[in-house]
């Protein structure tokens, strides 16, 4: 028994007919072909599927597509124009905040809300803020740096050096 839902994704309106049990992440990836949102687990643990729903970061594997009816979503594909990087994306690039890139879209979407609600977070606040997102590659140091970098840029401040600091 499919159900028709309407939602906005990255500013574009969609009306789709879905099974009530369809996970939002599958709607995004399979029906809308926005494959930048990833799946890393089946227990809501990894955060690779994080998107924004009405500006709040949510794990899209934990929400049914029908629950997104009438809502506005933003995925990694919507945060900047193709070929351009927003301050967070640039922060990740400049500070080597990604290796394999699989966790990266989720991290960026989570960090987007983090900085919207707390534009000038401490390292500790960032670590707790992204603790619902797993990264297996980077050891997190540079993800924290990337978010601090974006925070500075977005406030019009000079970000810290992006050269690696060795002891």
């Amino acid at each position: 028994m499919n159900k028709e839902i309407s939602l906005t994704v990255n500013g574009e309106a969609h009306t789709v007919s879905v099974e009530p049990r369809l996970l939002l992440v599958h709607l995004i990836r399979e029906n809308l072909n926005l494959t930048g949102t990833h799946i890393g687990c089946d227990t809501s643990s990894c955060g690779a599927c994080t998107i924004l729903m009405d500006g709040k970061s949510v794990k899209s594997c934990t929400i049914l597509a029908v629950q997104a009816n009438g809502h506005s979503l933003e995925t990694i594909e919507g945060v900047s124009a193709e070929g351009q990087l927003n301050p967070l994306q640039n922060g990740f690039k400049q500070n080597h905040g990604l290796h394999c890139g699989f966790c990266t879209p989720g991290m960026i979407m989570r960090a987007t809300e983090l900085l919207a609600s707390n534009p000038n977070p401490t390292e500790e606040e960032i670590r707790w803020g992204i603790s619902g997102n797993l990264c297996r590659c980077t050891g997190y140091n540079n993800i924290v740096k990337a978010i601090l970098h974006a925070s500075a840029t977005m406030q019009g401040l000079e970000p810290a050096s992006t050269e690696p600091q060795f002891v």
Binding site: D42, I76, H96, I126
Partner: protein, 816 residues
């Protein structure tokens, strides 16, 4: 059964004021030979591959959709050891969208129900009568959508007759243990192999006569790489031209093509009919080296139905069924003098391989490089023996970001070294300094036959001690102990062995472990370079370009790097065991040098001088004594297509298959400082300083990133991760809810640095770095924790060291 702790317990509020994080001078270690425009070695060039990943335009396996594609899901065994009485697929076939259900009996008709492992053991693809571990593949459901395939999976009814499994490796060789591998003719026990190195007689004698002998049993737990992307594939067979394109998450696409041809050649899939494409990989760490049954079933189904078949495992399947890592039970012993000279070591290993030996090791080394277990120390007497057994657990083991069992070896030697220091009441740093191999003694011949290429262990440890203010910390520790607080300092000074490897000793299924690079420079001076390796996040698209830029002087920005397509890339053995820089990176340098040789000939022709009259610096030739007479590499390349000397081949390309003369031996000195809360056992890592020696550094930013990531993957088994099974063989923590991959909260802020001793035999002096920290970190953490607990007579803790284990150890001793 150990109890897993809650994440949040494990980190106390930071109190850095207690620790003097001194402003150690930040050193500029790297001298760049090339300009920033060229960005050869030493430049922290930002990564070329980042753009697509940052914009959600990566190309991972599950992003691939082909017309008419079917989806596969897998029915798995709930039991560790059982006879299959019946598989009822009727209900499943009635599920809307389900196209087929495949069982072992179906595959048996084509001889595809079994496959060889990389260690020349055998493994079921699908069982025909018996399941050997929980979560083993039992049947596959093929459907028109992911959801229909899952519905079909739920509808398959399997009747089992449960048998008593062998779970404890220590009991696998008991006379009354059931023989598990009855499929192997004549097999009478669960023993797989025995392996030894060193000199038993001499070692026993030294031990018998030594003043001091220490001994500990340690278990290096069964863990899982758990890359955030799981494994999967799209098998795409075209009947019309009898051709298979296999898109799959593999770290070794070329080797996989050969394996597919070996397994399925008899049904017509010979090697020229198979193309393996490894797209962007969301982390590998060794877990994407093996061939899993899911891949083979997908190929078989695509072959039979002539349509593309997608199989993507979910996280729980990945944790429960894909290759584990480690699971070595080790008895380590050290003999020495009262004043701290190490005289000999002895190691005994029991390796639990699960149902089959599906390790990813070089063929000649079933125990991997475990015999590097003599470590960084100067003594010549050792003996090690290892025995492997079958149990009813998933097969393996793979590396988990380490070079073939080096982590197990390093844990054993670094823990037993600390144990020795504790026994004779000597400072563990001083004991190490006393026993290190000296820098002038390289190349150094180890008692188990390795030839360490280079190192300066004293400088590494000294630097780590200076950075962390070692003696200041020891004073602080005395004071804290007086206050009844638990503080510990742990050291690990490890030697790794990577870059497998020289063809005389190293092969996988007979294929020598060389690797390759092919460089083609286009007429306008821009290049494409292809490799037999496959990045899974290591940044090859950037670092390989930098190596070529360093030698040729073509800007790294203008060098496109491609890997992972067996139709276009030269044959190579893939990326694991930190081998990419030592092998394919070397191949790139040598291929680029061949191009410089050709460029010299063309330049001499263009400038009308002899070759000897030319000076080269990356990017241009000048005439000796007439520096205004210049030909840039771009002009020379253009001439190679437009105006090349008569008799010379046109074009500008080179290929090299690099057979390393030796392995490389990266090393490191790590110091970890912990505080432990007595009442709860909670561990707080206050400092972690990692000084690595990976030889010459190609891209400092990427090397540091690799070290950070590796350290967190070293922290993981030290304090969090272990796959746990009950007596019936049920996995107790088979999801990411309870298998504790560290988050940003558990992971401390790592401090990293380097000493540089270039590898003397590597064309660019590099050694490889991706795994050193995973190898070196666990004993540093364990040593720090044991050091904190040592006033209570505690000499060893089994990793993962959890707050509960600490609390229990203290409680058992009446401390709390």
């Amino acid at each position: 059964m150990p109890v897993q702790q809650c994440r949040a317990w494990n980190r106390l509020p930071p109190n850095p004021s207690l620790f003097n994080i001194n402003n150690y001078q930040i050193t500029i270690m790297i001298q760049c030979k090339t300009s920033k425009e060229i960005s050869g070695m030493g430049h922290s060039m930002k990564r070329k591959e980042d753009g697509r990943f940052l914009q959600g335009k990566g190309n991972y396996i599950d992003d691939l959709k082909l017309p008419g594609m079917l989806y596969m899901d897998i029915v798995r065994s709930p039991y560790a050891y059982a006879k299959i009485k019946n598989i009822d697929i009727e209900a499943a076939l009635k599920v809307p969208g389900v196209a087929a259900v495949v069982t072992g009996k179906d595959l048996e008709k084509y001889g595809l129900h079994w496959m060889p492992t990389l260690m020349s053991d055998t493994q079921m693809v699908l069982p025909t009568d018996t399941v050997m571990y929980q979560a083993q593949e039992v049947a596959a459901v093929i459907a028109t959508s992911r959801y229909a395939a899952r519905d079909g999976r739920e509808a398959v009814r399997v009747e089992y007759e449960v048998m008593k499994p062998v779970i404890d490796a220590h009991k696998a060789l008991d006379p009354d243990a059931p023989v598990l591998r009855t499929d192997k003719p004549g097999k009478k026990d669960n023993h797989i192999w025995h392996w030894e190195a060193g000199d038993k007689e001499k070692t026993d004698k030294v031990f018998a006569e030594a003043d001091v002998v220490v001994k500990e049993h340690m278990h290096i737990p069964r863990i899982h790489v758990s890359s955030i992307e799981t494994c999967g594939c799209v098998a795409d067979y075209h009947k019309v031209d009898n051709h298979l394109t296999m898109h799959m998450t593999t770290q070794a696409p070329h080797a996989i093509r050969t394996v597919i041809a070996l397994v399925a050649g008899h049904v017509g899939l010979t090697e020229e009919k198979v193309r393996v494409i490894s797209p962007d990989i969301g982390g590998g760490f060794g877990g994407k080296v093996p061939v899993y049954p899911g891949y083979v079933i997908a190929i078989a189904v695509s072959f039979l139905v002539g349509k593309p078949v997608k199989w993507i495992e979910d996280r729980s399947e990945n944790l429960q069924a894909d290759s584990f890592a480690r699971d070595y039970h080790i008895t380590a012993e050290m003999a020495g003098t009262k004043d701290g000279k190490i005289l000999a070591t002895r190691f005994k290993v029991l390796a639990d391989h699960g149902y089959t030996d599906a390790s990813a090791n070089p063929s000649k080394y079933p125990v991997g490089m475990f015999s590097i277990c003599t470590g960084s120390y100067d003594y010549q007497t050792t003996y090690m023996e290892a025995d492997a057994v079958y149990t009813n657990k998933p097969p393996g083991g793979v590396a988990y970001r380490c070079s073939f069992r080096v982590t197990e070896a390093v844990h054993a030697i670094e823990r037993i070294t600390d144990r020795f220091a504790f026994e004779i009441k000597k400072d563990p740093a001083e004991l190490r300094m006393q026993n290190f191999i000296k820098k002038e003694d390289f190349p150094w011949h180890s008692p188990t036959g390795w030839i360490y290429d280079s190192g300066d262990y004293h400088a590494g440890l000294q630097k780590a001690m200076d950075v962390v203010d070692y003696y200041g910390l020891r004073k602080l520790q005395v004071q804290k102990r007086k206050e009844g607080k638990l503080m510990g300092i742990g050291i690990s000074t490890f030697t790794e062995v990577v870059g497998a490897g020289p063809s005389k000793d190293f092969d996988i299924l007979g294929i020598k472990m060389f690797d390759s690079a092919e460089i083609r420079v286009h007429p306008t001076g821009k290049a494409i370079a292809r490799f037999g390796t496959k990045s899974q996040g290591q940044g090859h698209e950037t670092t390989y370009a930098q190596i070529i830029a360093e030698v040729l002087g073509i800007p790294a920005e203008n060098i496109q790097v491609e890997e992972g397509d067996t139709d276009t890339a030269p044959y190579g053995l893939g990326t694991y065991a930190s081998r990419s820089t030592p092998t394919a990176g070397a191949a790139a340098a040598v291929a680029a040098r061949k191009l410089v040789d050709k460029a010299r000939k063309i330049a001499a022709y263009l400038l009308e001088v002899s070759e000897e009259d030319l000076d080269w610096e990356p990017g241009k030739f000048t005439v000796k004594g007439a520096p205004e007479k210049v030909k840039t590499i771009q002009e020379i390349v253009f001439a190679a297509y437009t105006n090349h000397p008569q008799g010379m081949q046109a074009g500008f390309e080179a290929t090299h298959y690099y057979d390393p003369p030796n392995l490389t031996f990266p090393s490191g000195a790590y110091i970890c400082v912990v505080e432990i809360d007595k009442e709860t056992g909670a561990i707080d890592i206050k400092r972690f300083v990692a000084i690595d020696d990976c030889g010459h550094i190609i891209n400092p930013m990427i090397v540091q990133g690799q070290v950070h990531g590796g350290l967190t993957q070293g922290l993981a088994p030290a304090m969090y991760e272990e796959l746990l099974y009950d007596e019936a063989g049920n996995i107790l923590n088979g999801t990411l809810m309870d298998y504790l991959v560290p988050t940003a909260i558990e992971s401390p802020s790592w401090e990293t640095g380097h000493v540089v001793t270039p590898s003397p035999h590597h064309p660019i002096g590099a050694k490889g770095v991706g795994e050193s920290p995973t190898v070196g970190a666990p004993p540093a953490i364990a040593n720090a924790i044991v050091d904190a607990l040592s006033p209570y007579g505690i000499t060893h803790m089994e990793i993962p060291i959890t707050p509960f284990k600490i609390w229990k150890a203290l409680h058992d001793r009446g401390v709390v």
